[in-house]
Amino acid sequence: MQLVLLSTLPGFLALSYQFGWGTFINLIIAVVTSLIAESAMLALRNRPIAFYLKDYSAAVTAVLLALALPPLAPWWVVVVGSLFAIVVAKQLYGGIGYNPFNPAMVGYVVLLISFPIEMTSWITPISLLPEGVTHPGLWESLSIVFAGNTPIDGVTGATPLDLFKHSNGLVVDQIYQNEALFSQASFAGVGWEWVNVGFLIGGLILLKTRIFTWHGPLAMLGTLALMSILFWDGGSSDSPGSPIMHLFSGASMMGAFFILTDPVSSAVSNRGRLIYGALIGLLVYVIRAWGNYPDAMAFAVLLANFAAPFIDNYTLPRTYGHTDRRKATEKQEEE
C-alpha cells in the first residue's frame, strides 16, 4: 500500500505543476478527513484502530479521491467525498476487503451527481493561462478553498474531453486548430497529457514490482484504444476523438493503473481481470462518446464492480486433474 502511495507521486507532481496548489490542498483535506473517519468507524465497530490504520488503505482511498477531484474545489466537497468513501462505501460494508465497490470512486460519483458545478470547473493548465495571469499561490488557494473566494478570470477552463463533448458541428481538425488546448499540445491535450504520462509511469512501477498483474490495465487500455480506433471516423464533426486523445485524457491512465487495480472490488482470476478491464475500457468509451458525462472512469469502474461476481462465476481457472472449467454456482453432481 505504501508503494501505491509513492507511485502516485509522478501523477501528483504533474497535476500540481499543471494546475497549481489545488491538488495538494485536496490531498491534505482528504487524507485528514479519511483517517479521522476511519478511526471513528473502527472505534464504533470495536476494531483495533492502529492495526487497521497501518495498512494505509484509508490513505490510499483518500489520495486517489483527492487526485481525481478538481483542484481548488471547495473544502466541503472534498470532506463530503472522503466521508462517503470511507464511512459508507468502505466501513459500513465491513471495512477493508469487504467493500464491493471502489470506495474512492463511490465518493467521486456521489460528488459528481450532487455537486456538478463544483465538480466540473477545472483549472486552466499553466501554459494556457492568459497573459499576466498565474495560478493562485498557496495562501490565495487556501482562501479560495476554505473561504469560498472565486479565482480570477481565466484560471478555470475546460478539459480536452469537455471540449470534444461540447463542440457540436466542428470537425476534429477545426477543434484542433481553434482550441489552444489542442493546438499547443504535444500529442493529446495540454496539461492532461503529462498528467496521464505521470500516472502511466507510476503504474509501470507498480507493475514492475508485481503489486498487480498486467491483465486489468492492459485489457482496459487495449479496449479503450480499440474502441476509439473503430469509431475514429477520420475526424468528422461526430467523431468522439482520436485514440491518443482518449488514452491520454481525463482519468484514463489513473483509472487503468490505480483505480481498476483495486483488488477488493475487481474480479479475482487473471482471466476474470482481463474481462473486467475490457468491460471498463468499453464502458469508458461508450459513456465518453455517447453519454452525458465528458469522462466516465468512475461510472465504468462502479458498473464493472457490479459485474465482478458475475465474471468470477464464469472464469474459474481449470484445476489440476479436471478436464474442464467449472462455474462457481454449478452444483456437484450427485454420485
Partner: protein, 575 residues
C-alpha cells in the same frame, strides 16, 4: 534429455539446504528408551504382539498383521518392553496414540535375518510380502503402504515408474544426502521395484536442479540401464506427487484419482532404499535418514535415526538452544507442523526436525483482512482461487467450497507463504475439509435413518391396507347376505328397513331396568365431562390465549348439550 513441463504457480522460498549438507550422514548413540507408535502409515493399525517385560531383539516384529491395509512395526534396537500405552506422538494436535516403549540394553543385537541373494528369481508376490513384512510405507510424508502401491491390478497396468527425488521443501536434505551416499542401494531398490512391476517401459528419476552432486553420484550407476535422470528447475512444490507427474510426463492425475489411473507409480528415495534393505539384506524398516537443522541447533546435519528415537535425543546431540528456538517443526517450514513436546518419537515419515531461531522464522504475525490481491491464486500449483476458498471457508459455504474444488487442494502452503495479510489459508482449508467430510458422514447417517423411517411407514401402510381390504371383504359378504335375506322379505322400502332396524335394536336391548341404568351412567359420564371442560375453561381464562378460551368455551357448551340430551333420554324412559 527428456522434455519437462512447467506447473502453474509455485513459489521460491529460501532453500536453506546447504547448512545440513556440510557433513556426511551421521549416527547417534542409541537412546535409552525408544517409543514406537503402532500406527505409522495410512491404514488400520496392526495388532500388538509383545507383552510388558518381554525381551526383544533388533528387527523383531512387535505387531501382527491382521488385514491387507496393516503394516507391522519392529523393535529398532534390542532391549526390554517396559510399557505398552498411549504416548504423545507426532501430530499437529498433539494427540496421544498407542506405543510400545523399549528400554534399550545397549547391545543393539539383531534378530536372525537373511536377505535374498538373487531377487530376480522371486516372484513379485513374494517380494511384495517381504516389503509388507518389513513395514515399509511411503517415507516422503504420506506413509502409504508401499506394497499396496506396487500390487498388480488386472485392469491397471503400470508402465511408468517415477522416482521422486525432488525434495522441494526448504531445509530438508535427507533424500539429497541419501542419493549422494547410498546411490548404489537406491539403484538396487529401483531394480527390485522394476522386477516387481515386470519392467515398466519408462523409469525416471525426477530431481530439482539444485542437487547437482546427487545427480553426479547417481550417473555412474545408470550408464548401462534404461533409468533416466530428469533434472528440472527448482520450484516449490514440484515434489508433490501430482506436480512431479505433470512435470515429467505432461499428464495430470484425474481429480480424486491416483497415479495408477495413468499407469504410473511414484516412489520416494527413502522408500526405495528401505525396499533394497528389506529384500537384499533382510532388514525391516527400523531407521531412516532425518535432517536436523535450524539456527537453534548448533549442529545441522543428516542422521540415520532409529525409528522411535525421541526428538529430545536428537536435539541434545545437536547443541540445541531452547532459548533461541521460535518453534519446533516436524517436516519442513511449508508443510511441516509444530510440535508441542520434545518427547515425541521419530516415525517412518519424519524427514526433518527443524528448530528455527527467532529471527529465522518469527512467531506468527496477526492475520489482516484479505484484500483479494490474488497473489495466492498466482502461487497455487493446482490453479485454485485460494482467496475465494478462504471467503467461502469463513462463510462455511460447503457447496461453494466444493464447487471451487477445495478437495483438489494439496495443502502445499504456497498461498499462505505469499499472502501479504499473513492469513493462515491452509489451516482454513484443512478445517473446512474436515467439516465437509463430517457433514458427508452425517448426511449418510441421516439418509440411512430416513430410509429406515420410510420403510417403516411403507410397512405400516401396507398392513393397514391389508386390514382395510379384509374389512371390505367382510362388509361385502354381510351385505350380500343381507341382500339375499331382504329380497326374501316383501315391501323392502326405506321405512321398512328402518323399522326393522329399530326392531332389532329393541330386541337386542335388555330389560327396562338395565336400560335405565345405562342411561343413568350416560348422564353421570356426561356430567363429569362437563365439569372437566369447565375446569379447563377456568384455566384458559386465567392464563391461556384467546384462542384457547374460545376452544374451551365451545367444548363446555357441547358437553352441556350432551348432558341435556342424556337427561332427556333418561326422563323419556322413566316417564
Amino acid at each position: 534429455m527428456s522434455r519437462t513441463w512447467e506447473t502453474p504457480g509455485g513459489v521460491h522460498p529460501p532453500e536453506n539446504k546447504s547448512q545440513s549438507m556440510t557433513q556426511s550422514i551421521g549416527h547417534l548413540p542409541i537412546p535409552g528408551t525408544l517409543v514406537i507408535p503402532l500406527h505409522q502409515h495410512i491404514g488400520s493399525p496392526s495388532k500388538i504382539d509383545v507383552t510388558i517385560g518381554q525381551t526383544v531383539l533388533k528387527g523383531q516384529t512387535l505387531t501382527t498383521v491382521t488385514n491387507s491395509n496393516n503394516l507391522p512395526v519392529h523393535a529398532s534396537t534390542s532391549g526390554t518392553v517396559i510399557a505398552i500405552d498411549d504416548q504423545p506422538v507426532a501430530h499437529p494436535s498433539g494427540l496421544t496414540a498407542p506405543c510400545v516403549t523399549i528400554a534399550s540394553d545397549g547391545r543393539d543385537q539383531w534378530i536372525e535375518h537373511a536377505g535374498i541373494t538373487d531377487f530376480r528369481r522371486c516372484g513379485p508376490l513374494d517380494l511384495l510380502q517381504i516389503i509388507t513384512d518389513a513395514g515399509i510405507a511411503g517415507m516422503g510424508g504420506a506413509g502409504f503402504p508401499s506394497a499396496t502401491k506396487l500390487s498388480p491390478s488386472k485392469d491397471k497396468a503400470i508402465d511408468t515408474l517415477i522416482i521422486n527425488a525432488t525434495e522441494c521443501e526448504p531445509y530438508i536434505t535427507a533424500d539429497d544426502a541419501a542419493m549422494r551416499e547410498k546411490a548404489q542401494d537406491l539403484i538396487q531398490g529401483i531394480e527390485i521395484v522394476c522386477h516387481i512391476l515386470n519392467d515398466p517401459k519408462r523409469v525416471v528419476i525426477g530431481i530439482e536442479d539444485n542437487k547437482p552432486q546427487a545427480i553426479k553420484a547417481l550417473r555412474p550407476y545408470i550408464q548401462e540401464s534404461s533409468i533416466e535422470i530428469v533434472p528440472f528447475p527448482t520450484k516449490y512444490p514440484s515434489g508433490g506427487e501430482k506436480q512431479l507427474i505433470y512435470i515429467l510426463t505432461g499428464r495430470e492425475v484425474p481429480s480424486g484419482g491416483l497415479p495408477i489411473d495413468l499407469g504410473m507409480v511414484c516412489l520416494n528415495i527413502g522408500t526405495l532404499i528401505a525396499i533394497k534393505r528389506a529384500v537384499i539384506d533382510g532388514e525391516p524398516l527400523i531407521s531412516r535418514i532425518t535432517t536436523v537443522t535450524g539456527e537453534a541447533c548448533g549442529v545441522n546435519r543428516n542422521y540415520e535415526v532409529l525409528i522411535g528415537t525421541p526428538i529430545s535425543h536428537l536435539l541434545t546431540h545437536n547443541e540445541f538452544d531452547e532459548n533461541n528456538c521460535s518453534r519446533l517443526i516436524m517436516g519442513g517450514p511449508m508443510m511441516g507442523f509444530s510440535l508441542t513436546s520434545t518427547d515425541v518419537p521419530v516415525v517412518k515419515t519424519t524427514n526433518c526436525i527443524l528448530a528455527p531461531g527467532h529471527s529465522e522464522i518469527p512467531a506468527d504475525t496477526p492475520a489482516q483482512a484479505c484484500i483479494r490481491c490474488g497473489l495466492c491464486a498466482e502461487a497455487c500449483p493446482v490453479s485454485l482461487l485460494p482467496q475465494q476458498l478462504f471467503w467461502y471457508a469463513q462463510a462455511k459455504d460447503q457447496e461453494r467450497l466444493e464447487a471451487h474444488n477445495l478437495f483438489d487442494c494439496i495443502e502445499c502452503g504456497a498461498c499462505s507463504y505469499v499472502c501479504p495479510s499473513n492469513i493462515p489459508l491452509v489451516q482454513h482449508y484443512r478445517n473446512s475439509k474436515g467439516e465437509i467430510r463430517k457433514a458427508n458422514i452425517d448426511k449418510i447417517d441421516a439418509d440411512n435413518a430416513r430410509q429406515r423411517f420410510e420403510f417403516r411407514k411403507l410397512r405400516l401402510e401396507q398392513a393397514d391396507e391389508q386390514r382395510q381390504a379384509k374389512r371390505e371383504a367382510r362388509r361385502l359378504v354381510t351385505e350380500q347376505a343381507r341382500a339375499t335375506s331382504n329380497t326374501s322379505q316383501p315391501g323392502s322400502s326405506a321405512a321398512d328397513i328402518i323399522a326393522a332396524a329399530q326392531q332389532r335394536v329393541i330386541t337386542k336391548q335388555a330389560s327396562p331396568e338395565q336400560q335405565k341404568a345405562k342411561f343413568e351412567r350416560a348422564v353421570l359420564a356426561a356430567q363429569s365431562r362437563l365439569q372437566e371442560a369447565e375446569k379447563r375453561l377456568i384455566e384458559a381464562t386465567t392464563n391461556g390465549s384467546k384462542q384457547q378460551q374460545t376452544i374451551c368455551s365451545a367444548s363446555v357448551e357441547s358437553a352441556r348439550q350432551k348432558v341435556d340430551q342424556a337427561q332427556y333420554r333418561l326422563r323419556e324412559l322413566t316417564e
